[in-house]
């Protein structure tokens, strides 16, 4: 018997995974800035109608097609409506559509991925072939197809974007599940007598959370862009809704004479999508256990 003391652990604070994550995430300047921007966006989405300087629906025909000035900071559109107000109010629609679509797609996709990866065999084949079919279409085309069936409208945009988000999550979660279901600690838990559902939801799902969160964030950007594109095509939000894509669409006719009608909503879309993507990148690096300090 040796006398090596292996029981002494330096009396430091227990490093929880959350603390570890925060430490790494703070170091990602760009992602951190994006996170702040996104938090601001959500605040605007909540209080937008109250901080908007003008009524976003009220036409003022004495002020049509004005460039940015001290009264209308971002100018006015063809009906003399204040663009800044419309962007502020439209934030809620934009975020709501993106969030609900990705959330629905992520939940369904995650469950399908877990089942597919864990049970394998014909369940796996069935779910994966279904995903292959969905992935075979370009996203926007699939969304247009779904809208063609369901008819235009914001709810249907959510459904369409949600559906084409499903296969992505299903695949990511499936591949994670395949890795973790064969891990020793899952086998150890099974040897304790745990049921399949317990293992799936207590061990495999939490292990996949980091990839789900990263992909969720990145997907939000895409979803917002797709929803805006659909609105731009006249399939989503209908005028006079201040949805950013619909604003772009409305400004299209004045592109040469009053380009700022399209500039600012376009800029809003770009910044939002960019922020979500950068945040996703940052989260990925912060959650990756291989990236050490």
């Amino acid at each position: 018997m040796t006398t090596i003391q292996e029981n002494k652990v330096a009396a430091t604070q227990p490093a929880s995974p959350w603390r570890e994550f925060w430490k790494k995430f703070k170091r990602q300047k760009l992602a951190f800035a994006s996170a702040i921007f996104i938090v601001l966006l959500f605040i605007v989405a909540l209080i937008g109608p109250w901080i908007a300087p003008f009524d976003y629906t009220k036409a003022d025909y004495s002020q049509i097609l004005q460039g940015p000035n001290d009264k209308h900071w971002l100018g006015t559109d063809a009906f003399g409506r204040d663009i800044l107000s419309r962007i502020l109010v439209g934030t809620r629609t934009t975020l709501l559509v993106g969030l609900s679509a990705v959330l629905a797609g992520a939940i369904i996709g995650t469950i399908l991925g877990l089942l597919s990866g864990y049970y394998g065999k014909w369940i796996d084949s069935l779910i994966m072939r279904f995903c292959d079919v969905l992935l075979a279409f370009p996203g926007i085309l699939l969304a247009i197809g779904i809208i063609a069936i369901l008819g235009p409208g914001m709810i249907n945009v959510v459904v369409a974007v949600g559906i084409f988000t499903i296969p992505m999550f299903a695949r990511i979660v499936r591949s994670n599940t395949l890795v973790y279901k064969n891990s020793l600690y899952v086998e150890a838990t099974r040897s304790l007598g745990a049921a399949n559902l317990y293992i799936i939801f207590r061990h495999i799902l939490p292990a996949s959370f980091s990839s789900i969160i990263v992909y969720f964030t990145m997907r939000l950007g895409t979803a917002i862009l797709t929803a805006a594109s659909l609105s731009f095509l006249g399939l989503g939000a209908q005028p006079p809704s201040p949805e950013w894509g619909a604003m772009l669409s409305a400004g299209r006719d004045y592109l040469t004479t009053a380009p700022y009608i399209t500039y600012f909503p376009g800029l809003a879309i770009m910044l939002t999508v960019l922020a979500f993507n950068l945040l996703g990148d940052g989260l990925r690096d912060a959650l990756d256990p291989k990236v050490k300090d």
């Binding site: 490093a15 086998e187 007598g193």
Partner: protein, 336 residues
Amino acid sequence: MSDVLVEVKNLKKYFGGKKSLFNRHPDTVKAVDNVSFEIYKGETLGIVGESGCGKSTTGKMIMNLLEPTEGSVVFQGKDLTELTGQKGRAARQKFQMIFQDPYASLNPRMTVRQLLTEPFKIHGIEKKNERAKVNKLLELVGLNAYHADRYPHEFSGGQRQRIVIARALALNPDLIVADEPVSALDVSIQSQILNLMKKLQRELGLTYLFIAHDLSVVEHISDRVGVMYLGNMVELTDKKSLYREPLHPYTQALLSAVPVADPTVKKQRVILKGDLPSPSDPPTGCVFHTRCPFAMTQCKQNKPVLQDIRGDQHFVACHLYNGSAESEAKLKKQIL
């Protein structure tokens, strides 16, 4: 030590072998081929053998982690291989397993407390006194209560193996299947863990099935030892007679390969020729005949049965001891 705790009967596990559209002649890998033995209450049964001989597969079948192709595991008069679902889970409370790699067998996202209370959660055992139970378990394996809120990555290999052992003890098991529990650890830590296991056995009356490839580790901890080769149990007896008087030529070769910590001792080594045959195409007759220095004609045809050749509980599966003229002659040569 006469009460049988678990009886393993004719256990077989064949992998693969299913015909499919693309593979009409798939190979069946006979990982475990007709293994029978008994585990007595309170003993440590060691199982040794080289990689791929089926020792871990046997352990996993006893734990119901793998479904046997054939055979039964009898515990308290019930065949565990027939119990599935809820009943199987309840029956498994009394069997626990310790794995080889303590770094991988603990979920890195759970604290020690969560890991140790998980067995209660799985089996729906009430929550009260959970704190006290965790502290007691930690104390039992030589850790402290203040370790409970740490994560596995903050511990050394030996400490993690202690946590794994504590987790296995949570449900007051009768049998612990230890699958190479110390082979991933430093030698100095190995002995600590082995002594901890011995201490726990004394205090809690545990029975161990100890799977290992390290003969000296097995000698240290076991009461009886079974030697496996290519999915078959070739010799099974108590520790003393196995190490003093190995009967099977494979056991003899294994033991002669154990280094002695004395450079002046000249050992006669039995060197085995050739490689381990593929378990998907095992030799006919005795699986060891391709490498056996004493192989006879009948070894190629008949598979020897594991039997108590002298009536002293020394089981061996070898034709050398069947009393025929040829085997007697071989035995004599061996002694000379």
